[in-house]
Symmetry: C2
């Protein structure tokens, strides 16, 4: 893992960032996302709101915010949903308020989201976004990973073919992202993602405490 | 030092970048710059052209490109000087050609340059620039470093005061830079600068080999 720790960044009030990871299914997005959350105290996963019924074992406010369609539509109408989509008749979205609260408090939020969700976020949260697209090193490698996973989930050959074809579509949107990670090695990819996160935390525009810091510094010269 | 090595980035043809370090005198710019060059095979220092006479021990093409004023003016006139300035009657500048050759070959170049030079570079090389401003943690700390250095160089009290006053001016330009490093610890600052360099190397826009890579990848799906 990384030798430097995020504690090694200079402590100054800063605005959090929205760290977006997109990739085709099987490219490693979820593994990288989980590792980053584990390694960074200051980073948490965005919790979506959904109209889909709660399943056994799911906790409201942890897995999802479970809300009804009336509430969901209201949030969309008032501009309080950063992005939203309908999947198989259920609605999913990202409520604005918890994200905005986190950013103001210098907390970073990670989004494991597809190109369509990213497009919506770009329209409403431009300066807070850091977008990373993860690519598999080759089609053969992606197929290997999908087949390996299919053994556990008992997917059919047709479902695997469907995922491969969907991957080609997803990948076509790589050119709207800030950074590209080619995931040839999962540990290296986690490290590379961490570098991006730490570098972005040092962007001037995010350091809200900087004007005050510089004012004092110049006075003391 | 950093545990990850730049070899750990995925190898794909990319355009080099211009890594700009600015700071007031005494804030650590030169130390950080030298450490980065030492730790990164792919990173070299920009060599300026100058009309000042060569001093004993200086090597043309290594310390400076020594050229006459006629040649210097011609390079400025033809737009082949990325930035230039006159200091005590001597002219200094950055010739465009070697920089452009390096960038095309995926070599990164580091510039240890003030805010005025950075302003000029911004006008002609926007997408290739990564700008980093280094701040001292406090006025007292900067003064301590300047006084410690003054012992070696036998600077007068007046010269030290002059550097402090100039530092206040230089610092006022922090807000035009992409990243801010507050140098409270030189080893950490080198590490933080390395993170920024490695993250920027993973920017999509610099990966010139990416469209071809993605074309093959999508074909193989």
């Amino acid at each position: 893992m990384t030798s430097y720790d995020t504690k090694d960044l200079y402590k100054l009030n800063r605005r959090g960032l929205m760290f977006i990871l997109s990739s085709p299914s099987g490219a490693g997005k979820t593994t990288i996302s989980r590792a980053l959350v584990k390694n960074n105290q200051n980073l948490s996963v965005s919790i979506s709101a959904t109209t889909r019924p709660r399943r056994a074992g799911e906790v409201s406010g942890k897995d999802y915010h479970f809300i009804d369609i009336g509430k969901f539509d209201e949030l969309v109408r008032t501009g309080d949903m950063l992005e939203h989509a309908e999947v198989f008749g259920n609605h999913y979205g990202t409520p604005r308020k918890p994200v905005e609260d986190a950013l103001i408090n210098g907390q970073d939020i990670i989004f494991d989201i597809d190109w369509q969700g990213t497009q919506q976020l770009r329209q409403v949260a431009r300066d807070d976004l850091v977008t990373v697209f993860i690519l598999p090193p080759s089609g053969a490698e992606l197929e290997k990973r999908l087949r390996s996973r299919a053994k556990d989930t008992r997917e059919t050959e047709e479902q695997i073919r469907g995922r491969m074809s969907k991957a080609a579509d997803e990948i076509s949107h790589y050119d709207a992202y800030d950074y590209i990670l080619i995931n040839d090695d999962i540990d290296k990819s986690i490290e590379r993602a961490q570098m991006i996160l730490d570098a972005e935390r040092q962007k001037r525009q995010r350091m809200t405490g900087l004007p005050e810091f510089v004012k004092h510094l110049r006075k003391s010269l």
